[in-house]
Symmetry: D2
Amino acid sequence: MIATVRHKVNFYDTDAMAVVHHSNYIRWFEIGRVEFLRAAGITLNQLMADGYVFPITEVSAKYVASAFFDDELVIETIPEALTKVKMAFNYRIYRASDNTLLVEGHTQNVFTSKETGRITRLPDKYYDKLKVMMAL
Amino acid sequence: MIATVRHKVNFYDTDAMAVVHHSNYIRWFEIGRVEFLRAAGITLNQLMADGYVFPITEVSAKYVASAFFDDELVIETIPEALTKVKMAFNYRIYRASDNTLLVEGHTQNVFTSKETGRITRLPDKYYDKLKVMMAL
Amino acid sequence: MIATVRHKVNFYDTDAMAVVHHSNYIRWFEIGRVEFLRAAGITLNQLMADGYVFPITEVSAKYVASAFFDDELVIETIPEALTKVKMAFNYRIYRASDNTLLVEGHTQNVFTSKETGRITRLPDKYYDKLKVMMAL
Amino acid sequence: MIATVRHKVNFYDTDAMAVVHHSNYIRWFEIGRVEFLRAAGITLNQLMADGYVFPITEVSAKYVASAFFDDELVIETIPEALTKVKMAFNYRIYRASDNTLLVEGHTQNVFTSKETGRITRLPDKYYDKLKVMMAL
């Protein structure tokens, strides 16, 4: 299932080239990921309270067109791969007003124990919810 | 004693008006504060390991002139008041190349127990070091 | 008239004290200001296209309580003063779930010519719209 | 030639997992890139004054280990490819205290006319300086 969420470009997201600074899209992938997990019935707060953190191990982005201040963006988060120790997502960010594709991206994160800092297997109560979402 | 630290303006600190976004100076006051504490022989990491956090309760800034990409800034941190439960600082941020005053600011923070979230008295091992710095 | 807008706390807005970093509220005042202007029928893009910029000259904030990742915030923007050369706003940011007041703030900005960098009088086509909003 | 620059992790760079938020490294690649250009005798301000902008078209990063508040980082920028219309860099970010590799990354940017927004050929006065740096 693709999770979709909207985000409006703030003035503080722009840079001296008068476009959105490219690093912000990496942050907005996170908004998409959080929304995907929420749609699966999982909140990061629960995961953290249970002792799991989920550091990003890889990120990439291709920038196709610029976004500007006040643009309404559509962030699509597409699950790519899931195991009990890691997860990969693809992203597409569009401008809502004209459907222009702005950025395509990819992330991978691993599930890690907050206590030991080591990679750990996600328990079934979370894994099963994610598996359902992957299949939808 | 006034603590002084330099910071170069990055491209990502600018906005679509081609100047530094005003919110960044609030972040740079933090760089100054951390430097002041370091000069006093205190690191935030030690404080946090000891169970203290130090949330900001007040901040203010007057913006006098704009900084631009690649400007070298001088951040001066001037201690204003110290008790065992709170600390206040004033700040002056200059452009190094021409000594232009850019921003004047003020912050207040309280010492808080990480565990309870409540305001707490700073132990003497920290307080005494800060008192010495205030008097220099 | 008070302009109201909602903003969800992103993970990237938090810091190592596991709360929203205090500098972000200064950014969120901007979201409120933009919304106020929009409600008045003015967009920053129009103003800039017309040759006006609107640098912040003063900002202040009192931090009452912390916001956390995933909190839904309500940003209220209350106009305080308006002349043809400057504008002042007050802000109140609440947590939507429990109505806790988190931050109160204030900003002042001046209208400036993009070309000369000097303070300039806002033309009536903008001023009149703002005056109407102040009176509502 | 590899350009090297140092950057200290600020408190505001951390997130609620108490490590540097992964998006910040993308910003720090920019610090490295700017430093590389400076070493080549080129400032972004000159380029922009001459009507060139240099949007990022691709970015990627692999995250190997976490950085923490107050870590001193070493950012290495390694030129990978140069034509008159685009440039590619690789990056390595280390922790200075123990030489731990934290992040490896890559960016590509194109030279674009500020006026038309279209890809343009970099004039020889800039291209030649960059070519020299590539060969060193």
